[in-house]
Amino acid sequence: MHDIYNFVSGPLVWVSFVLFIGGCIYRLISMAALAKKKDPVVYDYMNLRYALRSIFHWIIPFRSENMKRHPVFTIVTFAFHICLILVPLFLFAHIILIKESWNISWWFLSDSTADVMTLIVVGSCIYFLVRRIVQPEVKFLTSPSDYLILAIVAAPFITGFWTYHQFAGHKVMGIIHILSGEIMLVAIPFTRLSHMIFFAFTRGYMGSEFGAIRHVKDW
């Protein structure tokens, strides 16, 4: 058990970070090169001002018509994404591990706050799951991989919550927690989670086309 723990919390962490960061860089560079070769239109029409205008409108809740039409979904997605990013970065337990390893640390969330935020992530995932099963227009688009991706995202938070609260079998769960976090990191560049790296570009390009060429808003 210790060997497995040492393996997933040691070498595998490095492997996953290398794949995550390297994968993101690879995806960005290869896509940029492909765009240069096959879609030069993207470079010609990308316009910083209108790209940023569009991005800002879409990262602020209720700034777009569609967000106003779906208030519950808007609140859930924004809460989900905020918690999803903040909890792993500012969790006390994570920062302790880093301090022990490299003696560096930064601001952290209180455990109770992180707990609530974790539940928000898990609750959101349940909401997405139910939506996928219940709403016909979402169900129609759903493939098995969509459930898998949802599971990949939810797993580190469910297992993290389990481990922190030391429920039955928390030692095993701790190992699964680390492993699932690593799987999620690696999944980001290579699955639909890559919207994390490409969002700004697709949004920015559409914002540029609508703003600079068509002189109209895109939200």
Binding site: M31, L34, A35, W58, I149, R192, H195, F210, R214
Partner: protein, 444 residues
């Protein structure tokens, strides 16, 4: 433009699709799909397909989806799933029946109106994905017959309606003659080199809406505009090849259009009230030819009228009395943001403007655009049933008192006429040019 609907049931037979599909082999399908994907698409298609999280938030943007009681098969992403996703997943290994249906979905159940682009949080250009499907169908020779005939006309005559060169000139002279009954010294200046403005129209104007050329001449004359129209091909700014996926022909058409304008050394192109032609000349055709922006300044009639009225070149004698509502064509709002200029002209010429909702860049499409009306009678009910939401939107405007719909686009006229008749709306449909002509001070 109303044509009889020949088939109101779901099963539509289109000769173009049936014949085209009958000639396909699995090898040809696979080869064509993969060659288009490999040679003509790149980062955009890949990113759009890679990052779509299948959230379904684009659904409510689509009038087809809303009009079919939220049937997911008609949602924008739902249509992509039935076309592009499938061919990518199967790497081109699909059968002729699939291609037939994919062509039908891409060509007749989507107007490429780009409303969904404003609803996707990631800014995925769904219209681009569906036009890519049309491109593949074009290369496979599986396109709806009526629009393909129009594309053939473009290839053979450089205009949409098989208008012969002498017939075009004849039509201009005929309209000049007609207009002289009203204004004795009016001219439709043909081939005037160095004119300020080159006025271009779409093929259907000389074919069956010739009075629009008459009206334009009266407006130009009253405003004292130095204008001309060419006697050669290039006069037709329309472009159904853009919508069949025949991009080579699209580029040829735009080349002829720009070349005829540059041959006449004009300062600016003004186009009649057409939406898709504007998209082709302003946004798509120029790119196909390698120009980032149009090589000659060009404006849509809405902007031109706006300038004439704002500068006092056109004076309004008596405003249009009936309350009007303004339908924003997708290609002039989501294609150029002309909604406020359209309202300026409307307010200057009409007593009362009653807004329909949604409006401006969020307006629902007429369901005729994107070449759908050009797919002809077999698909009339596809677009009329597929746009019940438009009828509801218009009924709401009518309930507030609107009697006339202003639609500054030819396709919108055709589409709205069918919707008005089918749903019993009993409203008039006018171009801005109709209203200006009716209300302006005319020279003696």
């Amino acid at each position: 433009m109303a044509e009889p609907a020949v088939n109101t049931t779901k099963q539509i037979t289109d000769e173009g699709l049936v014949k085209g599909a009958s000639k396909l082999t699995p090898e040809k399908i696979e080869q064509v799909i993969n060659s288009v994907i490999k040679a003509e698409t790149g980062a955009r298609l890949k990113t759009y397909v890679d990052i779509c999280v299948h959230c379904g938030l684009c659904s409510e943007a689509c009038h087809f989806y809303l009009s079919h009681d939220n049937d997911p098969k008609f949602s924008p992403a739902g249509k992509v799933k039935q076309t592009i996703w499938e061919i990518l997943n199967k790497k081109g290994k699909v059968d002729a029946e699939f291609i037939k249906r994919a062509s039908e979905i891409a060509s007749t159940e989507c107007n490429l109106c780009r409303r969904c682009a404003m609803y996707c949080p990631f800014g995925i250009d769904i219209a681009y994905l569906l036009i890519t499907m049309r491109r593949i169908c074009h290369k496979l020779g599986v396109t709806p017959q009526y629009i393909q005939d129009t594309a053939h006309s473009h290839s053979a005559t450089m205009n949409q309606m098989w208008v012969k060169d002498d017939e075009w000139i004849d039509c201009l002279m005929w309209q000049e003659d007609e207009a002289r009954g009203e204004i004795p010294n009016i001219r439709i200046p043909i081939e005037k080199e160095g004119a300020e403005i080159y006025y271009s129209v779409i093929g259907p104007e000389p074919k069956f809406r010739a009075q629009l050329i008459y009206q334009a001449a009266v407006i130009m004359h009253a405003a004292g505009v130095d204008w001309t129209m060419p006697a050669t091909p290039g006069w037709d700014n329309s472009d159904m090849c853009m919508f069949t996926g025949d991009f080579e022909m699209m580029a040829r058409l735009k080349k002829v259009h720009y070349e005829s304008a540059s041959r006449l050394k004009v300062k600016k192109i003004v186009m009649g009230e057409c939406g898709h032609a504007f998209r082709s000349v302003y946004d798509v055709g120029n790119r196909a030819l390698g120009w980032k922006m149009p090589p000659i300044p060009m404006v849509h009639a809405i902007e031109f009228y706006y300038e004439l009225i704002k500068d006092g070149k056109i004076k309004i004698a008596k405003k249009y009395q009936k309350p009007v509502t303004f339908h924003d064509p997708c290609n002039t709002v989501r294609g150029r943001g002309l909604h406020e200029m359209g309202r300026f002209v409307t307010n200057a010429t009409c007593e009362k403007l009653i807004e329909m909702h949604p409006n401006r860049e969020h307006n629902y499409c007429c369901s005729a655009g994107g070449g759908v009306i050009n797919c002809g009678p077999p698909y009339k009910m596809t677009r009329v049933d597929g746009n019940r939401i438009k009828a509801e939107q218009l009924f709401a405007a009518k309930a507030k008192g609107a009697k006339t719909i202003i639609a500054p686009c030819h396709n919108c006229h055709g589409g709205l006429e069918d919707i008005v008749h089918h749903y019993g709306l009993d409203m008039d449909i006018k171009f801005l040019g109709d209203i200006i002509y009716e209300t302006m001070e005319k020279p003696e």
